[in-house]
Symmetry: C2
Subunit: 436 residues, 2 copies
């Protein structure tokens, strides 16, 4: 059978990983696919460098449009990233009748509606397994493996950079700034780490999973996003004393009122599997009505792990192209006519548990006044930890774990606490997730 | 579009789960599939009981062949179990042109070659996601999600009954016999638990995963199988002191000599995620060249978790049947002409680490003679633990963790140790897996 011919846009880390894995495992992949798969064209601005990285038979061009214009190319793999030129090229490739595989979460989260409808309109396939959690087949699991279920919630560690930083902060007691510098030195964080540490990358991925889990249009515009850049190592240590770890979670949950979609640091019990996902690893928990809780764990980034997902999409396409070219599985898991535009809840309406840290005066009555404010707001207390004041200090730290409360009510309670004369500094608040 | 019509054979726990989930989530499932899916016929020997469990519109029959003979039935779900009548009915259903979904690991492990070739021959689809690890989409992940990879090894906790028993033994210090009785009382073990506790059920599942991972014919006949029925609670406690937990693992590993396929109790470091999979939960680790290590966790048994996988297979079929009826993904992941009959290694050729427990005389020179035997066989020692002899006792326990050694060499070393006059009882040997 004629080989599937691939054009690769972008020969960075993931591009090179994809090229290398397809070449190295071509026998194995052909045994699985029933048809050879070859990257016959690569587009990269640095043509010389690219040429040194590929086999002589592979054509290297500077202009991606030469690939799109080539009638022999069946599938275009977009690994440029961002939503500038990548968006234009993906749309042009589809318009030219090419199937497209992309690892571009930003593009899908921000321009998903446009991209998916173009694919449907042109009758081409679009694969994006690599856009979420690297090599973990979480898109396939949500879209095909769990189709019997009403999904209740998903919660994931879906950004390796921030998980690596949090692990370093906990294990070595480092500050955020120092841990970030270490992560940059080791290649786990980019020179400009904003998208990672501010939670935007996790929110892109969580939005894609949310759309698939609940059959809603891409909800990224409504996401609540809080990163780890304000997180203090003291809170990681206090959380640990209480039996918790702090993770940057992407959470989406279906409630009667609408859908929660939020990324923020969260306390999770150290007894849960997800709390023990350390370093740059990723994991996604899915809670659903029939299957209960499942968890998917693996490398969420890196050249070859991401290539694993890119190529899985190509093999899926190749297996279908051997017979017909329609997309068998709808892009977002649900048939496109069946998307339901459910409201995404404001963070004010989210109900969760809280970790609060108060810098308080070391004097009688402080505890009573703080707990009084919580009681006034009908927020009940799960656990407390009071540090003895250091010698010569008149300030101490009071840590409170609460049971569940509505964010807007907690905001009011915190405002009241901060009005107390004995509460000396702004209250630190981190949400705590039970994930049962 | 005309509904997909299902005939269900067997209305036990999983049958009822499947019926209930399909009914309860029919709107959600139709939104995903683009087509309604209905169980219109159920076969069960106890017709009265079955009739009380289904909607009035669903026809209940005692004779499964009435379902197979009905031209309106598109898909037959076999949930009878075993390899007697289930085998006959699956083959007859395929001969009648029905697509088949089954949760029957014993049938596939033992008669897989016959069943798969019948499906191929008749051009019908066969789904068996539910046969391994219940609701965890591990078959889909291996067969579709990881197609880019050379898989190096798989290791799984794939029998909930034995994992529940091992958890009870460790947490409560129970003996195997008492823990088994508790598991039976709580419904986690069957009245006749032989297949579970002797490791046969895990070997069925591991064989299916091995065939898919490596593209080999179903290898069950060559599996090395050792259960947990000989495991003593002392060894669980000693392992814990050394930082390990004992799990019944199903392991299959590709080596240069052939393929390892073995089920036995294994020490795994308590720092690994899989060591922390407790109670009746299942988890499968997959190590592959591009993606690295991934892990899949969830409920491995029970009515609705298993139903989740059964229905996912039906939805896969329904999505395909809306266009054409060929099996898109080959049953064992690799194209059938591409199966390679790689040798399955004898347990004697397997290389692994070991935990040894020796009941030795409490006298000088014992340690030297035991370590001398290991040195003679070029087996090096990773850690040792010697219990002080109890007052008035002249026997003590010596625990040795070894680095990797070939099973046949370890057998010789153990025989030599048992010849030593200071080694008073047969040596306890449990394999230890690094899973890195």
């Amino acid at each position: 059978m004629k080989p599937i011919q691939i054009g690769l846009l972008g020969l960075g880390t993931v591009g090179k990983g994809t090229y290398d894995v397809l070449l190295r495992n071509q026998a194995e992949i052909q045994r699985r696919t029933g048809r050879p798969i070859q990257i016959t064209m690569v587009a990269d601005l640095d043509v010389e460098r690219a040429r040194s990285m590929v086999e002589p038979g592979c054509q290297v061009v500077a202009d991606a449009r030469q690939i799109i214009a080539n009638p022999d190319i069946d599938v275009v793999i977009e690994l440029i990233g961002g939503y500038g030129i990548a968006r234009t090229l993906v749309l042009e490739a589809m318009a030219a009748g090419k199937h497209v595989v992309t690892a571009n979460k930003a593009l899908l989260a921000v321009h998903g509606a446009e991209i998916l409808s173009a694919a449907q309109h042109k009758g081409v396939m679009l694969g994006f397994e690599a856009a979420v959690a690297g090599g973990i087949p979480i898109i396939k699991s949500l879209r095909e493996g769990l189709t019997a279920n009403k999904i209740h919630w998903i919660a994931g560690i879906i950004n390796g950079t921030t998980n690596f930083i949090l692990t370093q902060m906990r294990e070595k007691g480092l500050s955020f700034e120092i841990a970030l510098k270490e992560a940059q030195a080791l290649g786990y964080a980019e020179a400009d780490p904003s998208f990672d540490i501010q939670g935007v990358d996790a929110a892109h991925k969580c939005s894609i999973m949310s759309a698939i889990s609940f059959g809603i249009p891409m909800p990224f515009a409504h996401a609540y996003i809080e990163g780890i850049d304000q997180l203090q190592s003291e809170d990681i240590a206090f959380a640990e004393q209480l039996g918790y770890r702090i993770k940057l979670l992407g959470i989406s949950k279906k409630t009667d009122q609408g859908i929660e979609l939020r990324v923020h640091p969260s306390l999770v019990s150290e007894k849960t599997l997800i709390a023990n996902v350390e370093g740059a690893m990723n994991a996604v928990m899915v809670n659903a009505d029939a299957v209960g809780t499942t968890l998917y764990y693996g490398k969420g980034a890196g050249g070859e792990p991401t290539a694993s997902a890119v190529i899985a999409d190509v093999v899926d396409m190749a297996r279908l192209m051997s017979s017909h070219v329609d997309a068998r599985v709808p892009y977002l898991g649900f048939q496109s006519a069946e998307m339901v535009d459910t409201p995404i809840l404001s963070i004010n309406d989210v109900v969760t548990c809280y970790y609060l840290r108060l810098g308080v005066a070391d004097q009688a009555g402080v505890l009573a006044s703080v707990t009084g404010v919580l009681a006034d707001h009908e927020i009940s207390i799960d656990a407390m930890l009071q540090q003895p004041a250091a010698v010569g200090q008149d300030r101490t730290e009071l840590i409170v774990l609460t049971h569940s409360a509505k964010e807007s009510v907690m905001n009011q309670a915190i405002a009241k606490m901060e009005e107390l004369p004995t509460v000396l500094v702004p209250v630190i608040r981190i949400r705590k997730e039970d994930l049962n």
